[in-house]
């Protein structure tokens, strides 16, 4: 199996995991920041929505680091594409294209719905794969264990249902 972006195999999981650990530890040791990305949605929201929730002190003080970090994520993706044969816009979705073949507008609708769940769910849970799954578990926080079990279980159920029952996927 290859990546949609490069059509090549990915980095070995141990290398990728070690890289993520190194970056997480650097953030804490160099800058005293707890890794967490979904709070970055609040930073962006704080510019768009005039709601009291987004004027909390933690949002206002977090913007100075999370916004550059998130811009870095965009740049990292861009760099990865540019170094693997050039950056080109794409609509490719791998196995979903094979089984469902959505039009571009269908993909936008599909992704928007997924995004709604991601935005609302991560805020209600207080974190995502990075803040709960990587940092929180590493810091032995009970809330992170509950959240991680919860989103892994729910992701498994949703994909199993979608692929095995609805789309008749066969391995």
């Amino acid at each position: 199996m290859g990546l949609i972006l490069t059509h090549m195999p990915p980095l070995h999981w141990a290398v990728a995991g070690a890289g993520i650990a190194a970056i997480t530890l650097c953030l804490q040791w160099l800058a005293n920041r707890r890794l967490g990305i979904s709070s970055g949605f609040e930073d962006v929201c704080s510019f768009i929505f005039p709601v009291l929730y987004f004027q909390r002190s933690s949002v206002r003080s977090g913007r100075t680091w999370r916004l550059p970090f998130v811009i870095g994520l965009l740049m990292g993706g861009f760099l990865s594409a540019a170094l693997s044969g050039g950056w080109t816009p794409t609509w490719e979705l791998g196995m979903l294209d094979t089984l469902l073949g959505l039009s571009p507008s269908g993909k936008l609708a599909w992704m928007f719905v997924g995004g709604l769940f991601i935005g609302f769910g991560t805020r209600l849970a207080g974190g995502c794969t990075s803040g709960h799954g990587i940092f929180g578990l590493s810091n032995f926080e009970l809330a992170s264990l509950v959240a991680t079990i919860s989103f892994m279980a729910s992701g498994i159920v949703t994909t199993q249902f979608l692929y095995r029952v609805v789309l008749h996927w066969q391995s």
């Binding site: 070690a18 550059p68 990292g76 609509w91 936008l108 599909w110 995004g115 995502c128 990075s130 199993q160």
Partner: protein, 148 residues
């Protein structure tokens, strides 16, 4: 400091992009139990971050000598319900929050819609926070003095 955050974010984005963590197919393969890749990544990351964090906390100071501060996550009814909702979104979009930004950077056009959805979802959460607070036992808003 801004440059440090940019650099760490770029490195993080690059690793997510090349590891499969920002790849729709690898996310589905993880949830279908067809591929070990993502389990290996998360497992390795936690197995190495945990002892590293322990050391940092034991030392108690950042590289620059400031006191280490880690704000802990609160556990309430929203932790489980929110986690379950997020899992549905992660499965549908094939992206968690970090990879949404990485996919946009890579040029995957549909990821823009995932970001728009996530911002609307987070915005809706903020707009009805007062109601959710009593339902789920969420912590009170900590507002800065100037905005109170």
């Amino acid at each position: 400091m801004t440059l440090l955050y940019l650099a760490l974010g770029t490195a993080f984005g690059f690793v997510l992009s090349r590891s499969g963590a920002a790849d729709y197919g690898y996310i589905q393969a993880m949830f279908l139990f067809q591929d070990f890749q993502l389990y290996g990544i998360i497992g390795t990351a936690v197995a190495l971050t945990a002892p590293g964090l322990w050391l940092i906390k034991r030392r108690g100071r950042t590289a620059g000598g400031r006191r280490i501060e880690i704000e802990l996550k609160s556990l309430n009814r929203g932790t489980m319900v929110g986690g379950a909702l997020f899992g549905v979104g992660w499965s549908i979009a094939g992206m968690c929050p970090g990879p949404i930004f990485v996919n946009i950077g890579e040029g995957k056009v549909y990821a823009l819609a995932a970001l728009a959805g996530a911002l609307v979802g987070a915005g809706a959460f903020g707009a009805i926070y007062a109601r959710l607070q009593s339902w789920f036992g969420l912590p009170p808003l900590a507002l800065s003095p100037s905005k109170r």
